[in-house]
């Protein structure tokens, strides 16, 4: 049996349609299968409850979020044993904090302008933990912590401190190392 021209056209059209599905599948699957993602790279940082500095990586990260004038630190969190409390004391520098979930989404971010009594305090928790907290915590409990609900049990807290001049680098590093991320009791 000979192949007709219309057969080839139909095959190509079907191929392009299938190719579109392949395209979508790749784009949507990459976040789940990527091995060099930030979480995998920095999951070991902050295990002792303190943020750790990460180096600039201008050769790799295509520059997204990697500012040579900004010192960055990371603290990995795990909600398995309960909510995690992130405390970022103000240092006088412009400092920001973002909470990244396991899948590379920023679920919460703010700057030190939101500081209450000299520190920004976040409590990261799952929806179930938030529910439990509502039930057990007294209504008049005094807590400055902002509740951040995560749909993933693990993720990263990223701290940035802008160093307006190289002379401030040490100060920025100190500011980042002063951030704590500890399980709530």
């Amino acid at each position: 049996m000979r192949l007709r021209g219309s057969d080839i056209v139909i095959s190509i059209i079907a191929g392009v349609l299938l190719g579109a599905i392949v395209h979508l599948a790749i784009i949507l699957r990459i976040p789940a299968v990527a091995r060099a993602d930030a979480f995998s790279r920095y999951v070991a940082l902050g295990a002792n409850g303190e943020a750790q500095l990460i180096p600039h990586d201008g050769k790799r990260t295509s520059g997204i979020g990697d500012d040579p004038a900004v010192a960055r630190g990371v603290c990995a969190w795990d909600l398995h044993d309960g909510p995690v409390r992130i405390v970022m004391p103000s240092s006088g520098l412009v400092q920001t904090l973002s909470i990244h979930d396991r899948n590379g989404r920023v679920i919460y971010s703010l700057s030190d302008r939101a500081a209450v009594r000299g520190a920004v305090t976040l409590a990261i928790m799952t929806a179930a933990q938030q529910e439990e907290r509502r039930l057990t915590q007294p209504d008049d409990a005094e807590d400055d912590a902002i509740e951040v609900v995560s749909s993933t049990g693990r993720g990263l807290a990223v701290i940035r401190a802008v160093t307006a001049s190289p002379a401030w680098r040490e100060r920025a590093a100190r500011a980042i190392l002063g951030v704590t991320c500890t399980p709530e009791d």
Binding site: M1, A34, S109, L110
Partner: protein, 191 residues
């Protein structure tokens, strides 16, 4: 026989177009979700939970940590005010409205966003020398220039990234993003 050949063609075309287009889409900047502000482009959804799927794939593949909406915004420019690609053999001036932010930084990188040299070409709004009346005028050139100056390697294309920290929310909320004013990058001459 006919069916086998047709299936083969279909699968071949699917693989080529599927993998090829995915590779193209993830090679550089997210192909969707960009907002144009003068010569600058921003991806407002990147810093929040509703991140564009392309942006997320690019970020997860490269291991980058994007700026959150509440932290600031990243603006990228590859062209000057006349639409020519930025080149290291030219002299530029960035002027005009100062971006609204608590502090901002300006960085020159390769067009792929990678660092050009050590130390990186970067300056911050803090302690910036300003012209008469407080006007913003940053010289961008390979040769040193008096006043505010951003060093770039001579020859070759480059990219400018303007990062606004603690910027007004207007930059990240869709209806207002077009109202934001951004500096202008003008070419002053080429060698």
């Amino acid at each position: 026989m006919r069916l086998i050949v047709m299936t083969f063609i279909t699968l071949l075309v699917a693989a080529l177009t599927g993998f090829g287009s995915a590779w193209l889409a993830l090679r550089e900047q997210p192909p969707t979700g960009a907002v144009q502000l003068g010569q600058w482009r921003a991806w407002p959804s990147t810093g929040g939970p509703a991140i564009d799927p392309y942006a997320r794939a690019i970020i997860q593949r490269s291991g980058a940590l994007q700026l959150g909406t509440g932290e600031g915004v990243e603006l990228v420019a590859d062209l000057d005010s006349d639409g020519h690609p930025l080149s290291g053999s030219c002299v530029y001036e960035m002027s005009g409205p100062t971006p609204e932010a608590r502090i901002w930084t300006l960085t020159a990188t390769s067009t792929g966003g990678k660092a050009l040299d050590e130390p990186p070409s970067s300056l911050t709004s803090e302690g910036l020398l300003r012209g008469p009346g407080g006007a913003l005028a940053v010289a961008i050139s390979a040769a040193p220039s008096p006043g505010a100056w951003l060093r770039i390697p001579s020859g070759g294309p480059f990219r400018l990234t303007l990062r606004l920290y603690d910027s007004p929310t207007g930059f990240t909320t869709r209806p207002h993003v077009a109202d934001q004013v951004t500096p202008v990058i003008q070419r002053r001459g080429c060698s």
